[in-house]
Symmetry: C2
Subunit: 583 residues, 2 copies
């Protein structure tokens, strides 16, 4: 029991030196990657840069104790930071103490929600997010974040929010462009883009070992940060109007409890829920993927608790919502992280940085951080997925496009809410019109096929319909109408046989519909039969009274039904051996 | 084309004398039934009594022209009247001109919505209402309406709204009980309840023909009305504090256009939509049922238009939303209505009444109308359905109970909205955990069954899973997790074969999941295979690139798969003839 909730008790006892070394190496690389990111995503969340560091210590320690994924690296993440900014800006003004209070409350709330979901094993909440919606949403968020950074490249002020607000206010302020800032930006962007593509091969050619080359590439944002800090300091660019991070207090703020202001909590409830779910989905997917590669196991319910604990840890550190980072976790996986302890070592690394490097951050240009964000969020934008979805299921492709548009124009919360509703509506719509095939017998066999696709024979007076869908409320009425329609069009029909091998469920709405159909058909002098009803469905039907007053019979196979209802048709095949279905 | 939108052109041309007589008889009976109901439901809607008559003429004429159901009788209906009162009370005060204006706008709006849904063939909107939700909602509305009448029995004022408000304010006002009113109520209620049960057999024993006995029973509310009018007049009960309908202008108000106040329309949009959909669902079910009994055809899309037209007709008559009445339609069916013309004759009957009987209505006690409502709405309350649903699907039973409670306590709009969301969530939840069976081979056969239910053999290193559900976003993650879990638990697995005879769809979320699974399994040294994939699903998969980089194969039958992956196991059966599945 205790082990279930504290996985560390399991992997901890077999912890040895080689494991330690592997974890340590991974930790060093992740730390190098995490420091600039945490500063950048903190600004993205509308918080002072150093709060990113605060959010990258305690949460990692807590996850190391509670988490089941070995390489997962938690901390500030772009999407969640933007959602934080969107939610908190509604209740407080950036730069005020209230803003930080609200961000802390948000982290605490979503943390508590995650823990509750984990304890109640509510993994199904993630089921509401279809892939097109999630992928479309993520792409749109990537674009919003990237667009939001452009103002920093020009060193101008501009509104955040929807894409339109961002671009229009950017355009309006472009006149105040600061040249020094633009130079810093060009330098950082150029270097970072080059590092992404050209750096590794160049280092290899220079004879650097692949391992080192990889680490150096990952460290490129740190170089950019270091170099631009130096430039700003040397040339006093701060005096030339380059916006810098400014004074950062050494060490950590005193841990505080989040404010228990019910009004604030009410306002933050929905955003906290969205942040919890989206953060969890993003995390669990990467955790699943990396675990599966090594046939390792993760516990989705425990991951709720671990992430929730981490998020509450961030709140206690006086910081904003965090979750598992995709890129960061992949790096930690590739760097050979073997246990969650790697995260703990990363936390120590960040803590050391917080006590030592913060003075240097004074001269760190915001433009550089904007550049690191810009380069990394572009990976969120995935138009290939859009193309794929369109070619596979155009309707879902449209849903994806609409989700992207709504997110871009109306912001993250409307975007995700719209997407969820749309994909559910879309599914209900398509399952409200199930595929129904009228069956005929393949001459000389005991097989029945769609009359529209095969040359088959169907006996007069018997209508065979195969319903290729579970029967439940969205299609209950459709099936009812369809049958009524058939018997009204063809007055010669005396028997309707529903062939149900593809019916996995019959919910109570569909049951009601079937009973209606059965009753009306009786009055109309038609008998309703069922064939090839699955075991579980049959079990359910016996709990209803449909079977007791069913006009017709229930047949094990469709051939049995036809043999009984239209003997002359099927006699020819009667000699052949019975062929049971696979159910 | 014209015939599609004006069914009268079809049945009208074959209209002959016997048809006319049949329709006329039905019309007379329905008229007798409709007059007191229309007055009563008008009060229920918070309108002056006579508006019920106004709503029972033009709409019936319009439906006769546009409708496809022969016996359907449109007009004021209890559920819709209550929903009208609930919606209009939010924007205007009862008894004011604004209230009537709003009710007219509501009728017009929902009418237009219905017409639009019909033209766009949006029948699927009804798919969102599961049977438990609808039935629970209807029962709750029945209780709310009945409870709302009690104040009239005691002749006291009391609030409407949720059950709690109704009962508590009733209790508070009970001191002002009016004795004369109570006597009228006891008389009417006693008579009406007796008429429901005892009247018909008594008449039959008195030698009255069944037909006449039936008509007389249907007419019992009219007797109640006539007698209590007489009593009130003779004994001057009005002076004794018995609330009466009072002065009713002779004839009809001048037709008017509904107000085009955008603010009002915005406030009424959602209620209008709910009224449109609920009214339509109730109507279409009875229309379907009665048509099917005689193998007649109705056009669901055209019914939208016909009901919409009728509702707009009610608005033009300066009255409130109406729809097809269940009891009324059944009566008209049993009375032998053969064409929609019966409705037109009913309209004429009501029109005559409006010009002749209205003066008599002055002395009609509201208590009597309350009694007629009370007795008729009790048929809406169907706890048997609750019991049925519980025994068939407990989860849906709970949804039903919750819908009832929310409707009772928070009112109709919250009730129905809550129910819809709940039944969708419930469905997503249950389909997020599909039934998955691990398969083994029935020795000596080519059949594969659930290892937990049958004595079967499964070869080492091959995991066979049959997924009994379409693969779509709510269960995509579940399937992914389940497979990862299996290969992590049993490291000996080298092949995973998904047996898909029950998979009717694979949406893009599930496709994404399968591609993820395929990739991770490759890295884990496991090959993913599919067997018995349905034609349509296969067609879809060929549009994706899953098949191109699938680690394993796709097999026509599961036996083929096992024969290829574990030859020794299946050789014994190889001699037997292949048995194709029924797909």
């Amino acid at each position: 029991m205790l082990k279930r909730y504290f996985p560390i008790l399991t992997w901890g006892r077999t912890y040895d030196r080689p494991t330690f070394e592997a974890d340590l190496v991974a930790a060093v690389i992740v730390t190098i990657m995490l420091i600039p990111q945490s500063l950048a995503y903190s600004l993205l969340a509308g918080m002072p840069a150093q709060y990113g560091l605060y959010a990258s210590v305690l949460p990692l320690l807590i996850y190391a104790v509670l988490g089941t994924s070995r390489p997962l690296a938690v901390g500030p993440v772009a999407v969640i930071s933007l959602m934080t900014a969107a939610a908190v800006s509604k209740v407080a003004v950036q730069g005020t103490a209230d803003y930080i209070t609200a961000a802390v409350a948000l982290a605490f709330l979503s943390g508590v929600m995650l823990v509750v979901m984990g304890l109640l094993r509510m993994g199904f909440v993630t089921a509401f997010l279809s892939h097109p919606v999630l992928s479309g949403f993520t792409s749109a968020v990537g674009i919003l974040i990237a667009a939001g950074q452009v103002k920093h490249f020009f060193g101008v002020k501009a509104d955040s929010g929807g894409l339109y607000e961002i671009l229009s206010s950017l355009w309006a302020h472009l006149a105040q462009t600061n040249v020094a800032t633009v130079l810093i930006s060009i330098l950082s962007l150029g270097f970072l883009f080059w590092a992404r593509r050209g750096m590794k091969p160049r280092l290899r050619r220079a004879g650097v070992s692949p391992r080192i080359a990889d680490i150096l590439t990952r460290a490129s944002p740190v170089f950019a940060v270091a170099v631009t800090i130096a430039l700003t300091w040397i040339f006093g660019l701060e005096g030339r109007g380059v916006a810098v991070v400014g004074t950062v207090p050494l060490g950590f703020p005193v841990p505080t409890l989040p404010s228990f202001d019910p009004a604030l909590w009410q306002e933050l409830f929905v955003p906290a829920l969205l942040i919890a779910i989206i953060g969890y989905v993003e995390t669990i997917s990467v955790a699943q993927t990396l675990a599966a590669k090594k046939r390792q196991r993760i516990d989705p319910d425990q991951e709720f608790i671990a992430l929730g604990g981490a998020s509450i840890g961030s709140a206690i550190s006086g910081s904003f919502p965090i979750t598992g980072g995709f890129a960061r976790s992949v790096v930690s996986y590739e760097a050979g992280a073997t246990t969650p302890a790697a995260g703990a070592y990363t936390a120590i690394g960040v803590a050391i940085a917080t006590f030592t490097l913060t003075p240097a951050l004074y001269y760190l240009p915001r433009a550089t951080l904007a550049a690191t964000i810009f380069v990394s969020v572009l990976t969120l934008v995935d138009f290939a997925a859009l193309k794929r979805t369109f070619s596979y299921a155009p309707r879902e492709g449209i849903a994806m496009v609409l989700t992207i548009l709504v997110t871009l124009l109306r912001g993250v919360e409307d975007g995700i809410a719209f997407g969820v509703v749309l994909s559910i509506a879309l599914h209900l719509w398509s399952s409200s019109r199930p595929h129904v095939a009228e069956l005929g017998q393949v001459p000389g066999t005991e097989h029945f096929r769609n009359v529209e696709r095969h040359r088959v024979i169907s006996p007069p007076g018997v209508l065979s319909l195969r319903i290729d869908e579970s029967l439940w409320f969205p299609n209950a009425r459709f099936v009812e109408e369809m049958i009524y329609d058939r018997i009204a069009t063809d007055q010669s029909i005396k028997h309707v046989v529903l062939n149900c091998p593809a019916v996995n469920h019959i919910d109570s709405s569909a049951l009601e519909a079937l009973e209606e159909v059965n009753d009306q058909l009786k009055d109309a002098g038609v008998r309703l039969h069922l064939s090839e009803v699955k075991g579980p469905v049959m079990d359910a039907l016996t709990r209803s009274d449909l079977l007791t007053h069913l006009g017709g019979q229930i047949y094990l196979t469709h051939h049995d039904a036809l043999a009984a209802l239209a003997p002359n048709l099927t006699r020819q095949t009667a000699s052949q051996g019975r062929c049971e279905t696979h159910r």
